[in-house]
């Protein structure tokens, strides 16, 4: 029996360690930037904390059950051909139902305020809309003043820093998904209708644009680039065509 307790302890510890490790490793990945990332990372922290707490509680409960609460001769051990016996309390079930439901509804409310932020662009005077079209296997960008080019040859999507920019995303041929992982933005590019996303970049630099929906043989190669520029440099490029 002691041997088997050891077995249980090892097994549960591994499970707990693994869950914790798995959740934490996320923070070793590329850090977020921009207005969305602040909101998203905070939300992730809430979920991560609660998830770990629930996991530790449940594994702990299990561990307690199988190590301490062991009966040497159970009174109602099952025997062959019996009619199944009811066990447990209905009141406990209902109260658990209530607790889990309230807990989840509270979580939902946190989620809803975040999604409203993600999808309601906070526009400023110099905001504008870029139409992004997904093709096999590159992105095409159309600015309001008529600048139009594709990222097929590695030319980046240029936007100014500290300015909300709206993306109107559509699939040119098949279903793509336009995403800026570091800015925590993802907009599905359906060929049948446009979807809206927006960005408020807070740091200049170059970031990858990835496609998150299988779009054909070279889905993996569908990597674009976002260049967040200083406002002056962007204005120069945007008005003169040759800023960079």
């Amino acid at each position: 029996m002691k041997n088997m307790r050891a077995f249980t302890i090892i097994f549960l510890s591994i499970a707990m360690l693994m869950l914790t490790f798995g959740s934490i490793i996320k923070w070793f990945q590329e850090p977020g930037t921009g207005a969305h990332a602040e909101v998203y990372d905070e939300l992730f922290l809430v979920y991560w904390g609660l998830g770990c707490a629930v996991a530790v509680a449940v594994y702990g409960f299990f561990l307690w059950l199988v190590t301490t609460e062991v009966e040497e001769e159970p009174i109602d051990a099952p025997y062959l051909g019996q009619i199944p016996i009811e066990r447990g309390s209905v009141k406990l079930s209902w109260s658990l139902t209530g607790i889990i439901t309230v807990f989840l509804l509270l979580l939902s409310s946190v989620t809803f305020s975040s999604i409203d932020f993600f999808e309601t662009p906070e526009l400023e005077e110099d905001s504008f809309t870029v139409q992004v079209t997904g093709w096999q296997y590159y992105w095409e960008y159309q600015y309001p003043n008529g600048i139009n080019y594709t990222g097929a040859a590695g030319e980046p999507l240029r936007i100014p820093v500290d300015t909300p920019v709206v993306f109107e995303v559509i699939g040119g041929d098949v279903f793509h998904s336009f995403a800026l992982p570091e800015h925590r933005i993802k907009v599905d590019a359906l060929p049948s209708r446009p979807n809206i996303g927006w960005i408020l970049a807070e740091e200049t630099g170059n970031y990858p644009i990835r496609c998150y929906e299988l779009c054909g043989a070279d889905h993996a190669a569908m990597i674009g680039e976002l260049e967040v520029m200083e406002k002056e440099a962007f204005d120069q490029w945007y008005s003169g065509g040759e800023g960079q």
Partner: protein, 723 residues
């Protein structure tokens, strides 16, 4: 025979030019060069088109040269002529030696001019078509002219035909044997078949029965056995495909597989595992165990049952056969439109997968009716619905869900095949067919997850009370929770399409609904745990170890699933490796529960116990392997799923290295399991009728059970004394 072949060849040579619009008579100059000399091609003349690439790129320009050697009057004036035709792209003359043919083949047929009559080598330019998914065939006809300028007597001709593949052509070579990945696919498929055949032959029941018996059997236990062999075969194929994926991703920028082959592996791994392996494997036990558990002598419709099995077998084979017909389905097992349309996936793979799915759905529909009638009508007197064994309860909810949602998949597949084969426009983007596909597919696809899960949970609900020697905690709560979960599961499909632009209010409803799914499953989970309260768990029994491991894994899958149910979290996690890790944790736990089920019922099916020591090795290797594979991948929240390479700069290689090692560990564990399975059939400890002290009725009959399970004197419930 030989003569017929020769005649056919001659007919081909004679008629092909005519078919392609190349004139055959002398004098019709406008239609280009004619074949001089009449009769058949001459071996003395050699016509060669050079400059054609092995594989062409769309829109690229190639310079081609047509050369004639041999024949009369080599060189000199009036010495030759040619005619070149391609069924795609456009030709451009490079000098005044060549000109395009005006009509009807303008652009795709080119010939010599009067000036070009005096040479035997012509240069032309060919621009490949934009669409590089088709094969292009070049036909060159060349005359070696004797130079008398009078008539064609004495002239000789020959031809050269070349076919070239486009870069993305699907009609390519059926097997690319220069590619290591192909060899692995072939070896694993043959190996899987061999392994399963070995297991079948070793089965003590087979020796007594002929092949004819297995082909025509309608006994539910034999059909359960057939399901088991078939699903073991599909599981091996699915596992092997997953190994291909893991090999491909083990290092950055790997070129082990092409993108197309990788997509085929990913798609078929998903489709085979979800639809043809895990779910039907639990139906192996449903077929074998459920009728005995409820005290019936067989299923309600034994012949229909046999038909279900043969349909699912051929369904799986048809779906997987795409590998050998120019490429299996490669659009992901979710088959998102419009990538599945004939325009973007011209190969046969998706149509074959569709045909396989139709067979599967027929099979599932027949099974559903069969199980519903069996469970509702054929229970032994004395067993009311609420007193049914839990595995049977779970199968009942599973088949009800199947009946509700598989018709949606059937209609989706039929519309898709209609679009591909008959030119209908159900999923045309102009009428928002993309969203239409998402709705109809996920209406099936989400409950399908529960269809896979519930039988596994049912096994856990049988095994835990049995092996901790206490009754199941909260039996009624569990049954009502299962009912609630089944109802909610058909209402929350849209959480798979949170950021596709669906109605925001509907989306909030779906978020709440999805999170509410956690309520019944939370209750079920806690009830399973509470069964251990004041109990006597016997960890020496293998099935308990597997089920405990599985519920440990399931918790990780469940909690990470709550993250995904949040619409705001889903914005970032959708389509990433985090999602992939999440559903492999849930489905992986079902697989481990099913393994527990195999260890649990193996003695009933084969009359012998599986080896305990090997079984524990198998458990630990599998448990550690699964965690090793998927825990690192939770970290890759920014890596898109289904990509076949990644750059070193992305920083993902360590996670993938660990995951690939884990994948091999899992596979090695399953090899051990197959060895144990094979060995124990002859060398296992003899089990007797009730090796686990079980309470349900399958343990009241001998192992393996007699043909009709119970004799007429059987009465339920058995009293404790009659044991």
């Amino acid at each position: 025979m030989k003569r017929i072949l020769v005649l056919l060849a001659i007919a081909l040579v004679v008629f092909l030019p005519a078919m392609e619009g190349v004139s055959n008579g002398i004098g019709n100059v406008d239609n280009g060069c004619n074949c001089h000399g009449g009769g058949s091609a001459s071996e003395q003349v050699n016509v060669v088109i050079s400059g054609i690439p092995d594989v062409y790129n769309g829109s690229e320009t190639y310079q081609l040269t047509v050369t004639i050697t041999g024949g009369p009057n080599e060189g000199g004036s009036n010495s030759g002529g040619f005619n070149l035709h391609a069924n795609g792209g456009t030709f451009t003359p490079l000098d005044d030696h060549t000109r395009l043919i005006s009509e009807p083949n303008k652009g795709v047929e080119i010939t010599h001019t009067t000036e070009g009559n005096d040479v035997r080598e012509w240069n032309v330019e060919w621009i490949a078509p934009i669409d590089d998914t088709n094969e292009i065939t070049f036909r060159a006809y060349g005359n070696a002219v004797d130079g008398d300028g009078v008539n064609s007597a004495g002239d000789l001709w020959n031809s050269h035909i070349v076919t070239v593949e486009g870069l993305n052509s699907d009609g390519g070579p059926i097997l690319d044997l220069t590619n290591l990945a192909w060899w692995l696919i072939i070896i694993t498929i043959l190996g899987s078949v061999a392994a399963v055949v070995l297991l079948m032959i070793r089965n003590p029941a087979v020796d007594k029965k002929t092949v004819m018996h297995w082909l025509t059997t309608t006994n539910h236990k034999d059909i359960g056995m057939l399901y088991l062999w078939t699903t073991l075969l599909f599981t091996l194929i699915g596992l092997a495909l997953s190994l291909l994926i893991r090999i491909q991703l083990i290092v950055p920028d790997n070129d082990f597989m092409t993108g197309g082959l990788f997509n085929e592996a990913v798609t078929m791994h998903g489709a085979v595992m979800v639809l043809f392996a895990i779910s039907p494997m639990s139906f192996a036990f449903a077929n074998y165990i459920v009728p005995i558990q409820i005290g019936a002598k067989d299923m309600a419709f034994p012949r229909l049952n046999a038909m279900s099995f043969w349909l699912i077998l051929f369904g799986g084979l048809v779906a997987a056969s795409g590998f050998f017909f120019g490429g299996a389905a490669d659009a992901g097992w979710t088959f998102y439109s419009p990538l599945t349309s004939i325009e973007y996936s011209p190969g046969a793979g998706i149509s074959l997968a569709g045909a396989g799915l139709v067979l599967l759905i027929l099979s599932v529909t027949f099974s559903t009716i069969n199980f519903l009638v069996t469970i509702l009508q054929m229970r032994t007197p004395g067993m009311p619905l609420m007193k049914m064994p839990m595995f049977t309860w779970n199968i009942l909810f599973t088949v009800i869900l199947m009946l509700a949602v598989f018709p949606a998949l059937l209609s989706a597949v039929l519309m898709l095949v209609g679009d591909r084969v008959f030119g209908t426009l159900f999923f045309d983007p102009s009428i928002d067919g993309t969203t239409w596909w998402l709705h109809i597919f996920w209406f099936f696809g989400h409950p399908e997850v529960y269809i896979v899960l519930l039988p596994g949970l049912g096994m856990a609900m049988e095994i835990i009370p049995n092996m901790v020697r206490r009754p199941l905690y909260g039996r009624k709560t569990i049954i009502f929770s299962l009912a609630v979960a089944s109802v909610i599961s058909v209402l929350v499909w849209a959480h798979h399409m949170f950021i596709t632009g669906i109605n925001p209010t509907f989306r909030k409803f779906e978020t709440i609904g999805t999170e509410l799914v956690s309520v019944p499953f939370g209750l079920i989970y806690l009830s399973l745990l509470a069964t251990f309260y004041r109990s006597k768990p016997d960890w020496k029994k293998l099935p308990l170890a597997f089920v405990a491991g599985a519920i440990g894994i399931f918790l990780v899958g469940g909690i990470t699933g709550v993250y995904l149910s949040s619409v705001a979290m889903d914005v970032n996690l959708r389509g990433s490796y985090y999602l992939v890790a999440h559903f492999h944790y849930t489905l992986g736990s079902v697989a481990v529960m099913t393994l527990g089920g195999i260890y649990y019922w193996y003695p009933k099916m084969f009359g012998r116990m599986m080896d305990q020591k090997l079984g524990y090795y198998h458990f630990w290797i599998t448990f550690i392997g699964i965690n090793l594979t998927w825990i690192p991948l939770f970290g890759l929240t920014d890596m898109p799923r289904r990509i076949y390479f990644y750059q070193e700069s992305a920083g993902w290689e360590l996670a993938h290295l660990i995951a690939s090692i884990g994948g091999f560990v899992v596979f090695a564990g399953q090899l051990l399991f197959f060895y144990n399975f094979w060995r124990s059939m002859k060398h296992g400890e003899v089990a007797g009728a009730n090796p686990w002290d079980g309470s349900t009725l399958e343990w009241a009959v001998s192992s393996p059970p007699p043909v009709h399970n119970f004799d007429d004197s059987f009465v339920y419930p058995l009293t404790q004394e009659s044991e």
